[in-house]
Symmetry: C2
């Protein structure tokens, strides 16, 4: 052992690394040295093997390593409603199926549903998610048990629900959770004001004040459909985006889910305020909500991340297929095959999504940054040949090629198994919880 050798936790050797750094460097036959959950060094395998003495060696030489994917909009616990109702008009879906089942939700079901969501996300390369739901404490427990990073959005709305009687109580719950998670390496709290049609202007303003004092992420559903603009015009005399701007809701710490029915003025406002957008193409398509103007948003300089939305309207939490569909949809919607190219959509699923969550250390592999990553098996038929790794990751992969997912240096998924929790034992619990909520065989 040369005297210069440095101990490290993991030495990971990859066939290809898509760093997603500032210059989008792609490395071949390269390694990462990981110490205390961070990337201590990155470079040629031989160099790092000489410099470091690893506690564990991960041979991923037949894989392509990417930053862990960032899911900027989901309702994780709704995995328990997967397949409950499809192919129905929004009103039928919501009032006849989702709401009745949701009224039976409790903290234990949210914990289980979120853990199932975490398993699904890990199995398809996602390492961080923004969650928009109720029972935020249960979401935090599940994300912690699964080992993912998360910004846990405490839901806020006027409607009384199983968790809180009014928005003030919701914000008090958020404050308590923020105190509890203070200093947590992987979990953060955010505020998820449900929508302009379920929150009064006073509630929206109160949310703004709350996050401003505490530096938390603020999110809401915005213009998922054109009807939201019509309703907002009727109720408040403005389209949704100017209305939110005038309430002080927009800014670099704000993330809008969907952003479908945006006109040029709306896009200019989002750009000027530094507001981010979580694009959820599969959910928008499935509910026939419309097509978000992603190319126009990006051209205006708006940070756009990718989100899966919940499993009740997608029905998967798989960002690999989501980014594929995002690229294809913009091309056909704009009539331009050069729209939203492979690198752009890979950026959205990684670094842009991280930026939109206010967590710019994530979504790229850089020395000093967190060791959050996924590895795709390069020997799979659908990733062969490897003429263009970025193209293969975006256009040829489906998520099933993910053989390893790591968060903060810990392997949380490998070859179909979850080393850090007992997935096979949990399966029965997931199914029981789904059956109990839906009154169906699960």
């Amino acid at each position: 052992m040369p005297t210069s050798s440095i101990p490290c936790d993991v030495l990971l050797a990859a066939g290809t690394i898509l760093t997603q750094n500032e210059t989008r460097e792609v490395l071949h036959q390269a390694a990462l040295a990981i110490i205390d959950g961070r990337i201590a060094a990155m470079g040629p395998v031989a160099d790092l093997a000489e410099r470091f003495v690893p506690r564990e060696v991960l041979d991923l030489s037949r894989t392509m390593v990417l930053p862990g994917l960032i899911n900027t909009h989901t309702h994780a616990a709704m995995t328990l409603f997967r397949g409950l109702c499809d192919d129905a008009p929004l009103a039928v879906w919501l009032t006849e199926h989702i709401w009745p089942a949701e009224s039976r939700m409790d903290a234990e079901a949210v914990r289980l549903g979120t853990q199932l969501a975490c398993a699904e996300m890990l199995a398809s390369g996602t390492t961080c998610f923004f969650d928009a739901y109720l029972f935020a404490g249960a979401v935090a427990d599940a994300a912690d048990a699964a080992g993912l990073r998360a910004v846990i959005g405490q839901g806020v709305m006027e409607i009384e629900n199983p968790v809180f009687k009014n928005p003030k109580a919701a914000l008090q719950a958020a404050e308590a959770l923020a105190d509890q998670l203070d200093g947590h390496d992987r979990l953060r709290v955010g505020i998820f004001a449900h929508a302009v049609y379920t929150c009064s202007p006073q509630t929206l303003s109160r949310c703004v004040g709350f996050v401003r004092d505490r530096g938390l992420l603020l999110a809401t559903h915005a213009v998922e459909t054109a009807r939201e603009n019509d309703d907002c015009l009727n109720a408040h005399g403005q389209r949704v985006i100017p209305y939110l701007r005038d309430l002080g809701f927009l800014g670099p710490g704000t993330l809008l889910a969907h952003g479908v029915a945006l006109d040029a003025d709306d896009i200019a406002i989002l750009a000027a305020t530094g507001t981010g957008v979580a694009h959820c193409p599969k959910s928008n398509m499935k509910l026939a909500s419309g097509i978000a103007p992603v190319s126009a948003l990006r051209a205006a300089g708006v940070r756009v991340g990718l989100g899966t939305d919940g499993a009740a309207s997608n029905n998967a939490l798989n960002l690999v297929s989501e980014r594929n569909v995002a690229a294809l949809l913009q091309k056909v919607a704009t009539g331009n095959p050069t729209a939203l190219d492979a690198q752009a959509v890979l950026d959205m699923a990684t670094r842009d999504g991280a930026d939109a969550l206010g967590w710019p250390q994530l979504g790229r592999l850089t020395v000093g940054g967190p060791a959050d990553l996924c590895a795709l098996d390069l020997d799979r038929p659908n990733l062969t040949p490897s003429l263009n790794p970025v193209s293969n990751a975006v256009y040829a992969a489906n998520g099933g090629e993910v053989v390893l997912t790591m968060v903060a240096g810990r392997v949380l998924y490998r070859d179909g198994a979850f080393p850090e929790f007992d997935y096979p034992a949990l399966l029965a619990d997931f199914r029981q919880a789904a059956a109990r909520l839906t009154h169906r065989t699960a």
Copy 2:
């Protein structure tokens, strides 16, 4: 052993079977008995276990078994061009990248590229494909080696190419191959007249005469873009569909790939003539060609199958993700979330596709029919819970859950491996062939 016991080759026990039969029966805890590549019986596990003495038992009790998927339009050998050029206008893609590489194609490269395609299709549950390419003999060799079913479309066009000097020679080659494959259980020959813009009316008519005498499938690319109609109007005074009708090209034995730029009159012609359509949503989206009116076609009674197109424009040959995108795209295109529901798109990927290929024994699991099937792992997070198996298959699956694919009773794919051919050894050959054709690292 009770005296009534019948010997069978395989007894397969499934958690769920989506039979895709006439009534779309879904069976739970059911089994298939397979004899000589055919389904001898289907029913409760206990009943079949009592009646049959199997040579081999396949425990797929934790999976959902579906008919093998039918890919009605691909250019299999083009897997070797996967990722060669993306995000480019059609003309640049074709003239600067695909054609130069294609000019270096030979029989050996087609054999390898097709075998890679077969591996990819098996790994995502496809058991039968229609191939549209040159070197049809090499395609047949590869499909035979991989064990799939295929209708091998012999390419016909005016342009001189590495295989034949003129259309007459192409048809002679097709005749020779048809003689060679006569009586083959899994392989059939078809004629693939490339397009109205690459075949003269005389050549199209000659193809019609050729298939009519021999009962072969006839296919062509038709109205992939609106421009094809403009060009056809200029050249022949008619839109593509009436032009093809007047040439006698349409009918129950004809399959049109793409069918994007169709108006109501075109759709009525397709319905009246019994012509089938191979819908290729991902390729149409990626090349920004447009959106095929699938709901309208189905409403008019046109048989619509699903196709992946080639890996140069998709870039995967995965019908599980293709059917997902097909459903989502129709919903957003029509503004109707009930359009192309899960059952409809599952039909397209199975029985409707089989019918469109003129092979109606395929695409459903029925007693007496071929044992062509795939099995999806029900324990995967993204298929949990299983409130609605058809919904999960269409909206939640991505293809990575396929754990077994069988054609004619033979297991051709299981848990990442291909028992009938040496995939790991072939990988180097696939990469070398791609590198040789593209002059790039593969």
